[in-house]
């Protein structure tokens, strides 16, 4: 039976603890705030001999991912971490990793993109990874970041797709919370031993030489991508399977989305990451005023839980999508478009509106989300009108 202890940890400390317990073979990293501290903690474990991990200090994030790709193709269990512009610099190789179907864990300590330069949290960096065919999990707090990293390792190896675990920079990464930590043995048994034959074609199997990264001419590229497309659809079942297995050791049952008081809700707010706590508080405030509101958190961002969300939104009148990034495309934030797809597939097709908040680390207050619910209800009832789908919540006029 799993032994558990509750200790006070920051998000970065909790993530480093998960990395220590999993005992990755390779960690190839380049420092960038707010990820630097995480790798600082982990480097101590490496220096003290508490892990067998070989830590490769590379010359940039593009190289970090290249090193991860090489090591993962060899058959190693691999992790890296980055944030904001570092993720942007990595993007080319993210496609290489998923196209080669390599299990790699990437921790994205969410940070805004320049310019203007900001080291603080929003989700613009992770939105760069939307179409990379990486699995993507969002964490609300240090506890979820810790759990997600352990589950991600297993999901990635089962699915043969790389995986991103997101947690909000500073808000989660540098804030101290109570975190329930599992014992080392339980975690190591859960992820299983690292063996090169976890992947079908390990480069270190010198008796069976293979070529990674070959050219595909126009007569093959479509078939390669279609196989990737079909296999990525299988990720849903694999994630559910691993979530269920994890429930047995951690007594916490995760799902693709987390619903809060949505059963009879007329108006539903949707967010990802650390702001969900605030959103739930706002739901409680409005419930006390007699309003039927609810909240949904997206945990599995890629592949997007479109069916589950369509089901959850089927009886709602209005949906407020809270985006922590802008797409600058004339439509709305990235999450808004995904949720719009789910709305199209839902029974009642509720009214949908988009709010952008929390950019570059802007503090998110209850009054911000109260404003969003109020505006949503007025729009839905026709008391107010709109000339676009997207509005900023926190702009000084």
């Amino acid at each position: 039976m799993a032994q558990k202890k509750v200790i006070a940890l920051t998000g970065n400390q909790a993530a480093a603890e998960a990395m220590r317990q999993i005992n990755f073979d390779i960690a190839a990293v380049y420092p960038i705030s707010p990820q630097t501290e995480l790798m600082g903690f982990f480097a101590e474990y490496v220096a003290n001999g508490e892990v067998d991990t070989e830590m490769i200090a590379v010359d940039g994030e593009h190289s970090a991912m290249a090193a991860c790709i090489g090591a993962a193709a060899a058959g190693a269990r691999v992790i890296t971490a980055s944030a904001g512009p570092g993720i942007a610099y990595m993007v080319e190789n993210l496609y290489v990793a998923s196209g080669m179907r390599l299990p790699i864990v990437l921790l994205d300590v969410n940070r805004a993109l320049s310019a203007p330069l900001s080291i603080h949290c929003d989700h613009a960096d992770s939105m760069l990874t939307r179409d990379t065919s990486w699995i993507s999990l969002f964490s609300e707090n240090a506890q979820e970041a810790y759990h997600n990293i352990i589950m991600a390792t297993k999901i990635s190896e089962k699915a043969l797709f790389p995986i991103i675990v997101n947690y909000d920079g500073y808000i989660v990464s540098h804030s101290i919370e109570d975190v329930e930590i599992l014992d080392d043995e339980t975690v190591r048994n859960f992820v299983g031993p690292s063996d090169i034959h976890r992947i079908p074609y390990p480069l270190l199997d010198v008796k069976k030489p293979v070529t990674y990264g070959a050219t595909a001419q126009p007569d093959y590229y479509t078939e390669c991508k279609y196989q990737q497309h079909v296999d990525f659809l299988k990720v849903y079942d694999i994630v559910r399977e691993v979530f269920n297995e994890f429930a047995e050791i951690a007594d916490v049952k995760y799902d693709f989305i987390e619903e809060y008081k949505t059963e009879d809700a007329e108006y539903i707010g949707i967010s990802m990451g650390s702001s969900f706590g605030t959103l739930k508080d706002v739901v409680d405030i409005l419930r006390n005023q007699g309003k039927k509101v609810g909240a949904i958190k997206i945990r599995l961002f890629r592949p997007f839980p479109v069916k589950e969300l369509a089901e959850a939104l089927s009886n709602a009148k209005g949906v407020a999508v809270l985006d922590r990034a802008d797409s600058f495309d004339g439509i709305g934030g990235p999450l808004f478009k995904d949720v719009s797809t789910a709305v199209m597939m839902s029974q009642n097709r509720p009214f949908i509106h988009n709010f952008i908040y929390g950019l570059g680390g802007r503090e998110v207050k209850e009054e911000d989300f109260l404003k969003a619910f109020d505006r949503l209800e007025r729009l839905e009832k026709g008391i107010e009108t709109r000339d676009r789908f997207v509005e900023y919540l926190q702009v000084r006029e």
Binding site: K208, V210, Q227
Partner: protein
């Protein structure tokens, strides 16, 4: 070149090539625009061209350089640059092909 086109579900996961020697199957010499033409009178068989050839397209014995393997030579011209005796001249492939065609047609 003709080969069987596999359906999507028969492609190895990750689009890897599951056997060695694919560079032998693909005759990359067809890309060549310039052909290294060897002047045997100038060649001393020093084998420096063999050391520099990035495509391993220069067959040699310990004492002798043989004619370039044009199935794989991409015509990069490194051998011609590195040859200390100027024994290699890069000639447009089209000129050679036209000449061959003229000879064939008589």
């Amino acid at each position: 070149m003709s080969y069987e086109l596999k359906p999507w579900h028969e492609i190895p996961v990750g689009s890897i090539v599951p056997e060695a020697g694919s560079s032998k199957v693909n005759k990359t010499g067809s890309w060549r625009m310039l052909r290294p033409v060897l002047n045997y009178d100038k060649c001393t068989h020093c084998l420096i061209c063999w050391i520099f050839c990035p495509d391993d397209s220069i067959p040699v014995s310990p004492k002798e350089r043989f004619e370039t393997d044009f199935d794989y030579c991409k015509g990069c011209g490194i051998c011609a640059v590195e040859c200390p005796y100027n024994a290699l001249e890069m000639v447009p492939e089209m000129e050679i092909k036209l000449k061959e065609l003229e000879e064939q047609l008589g």
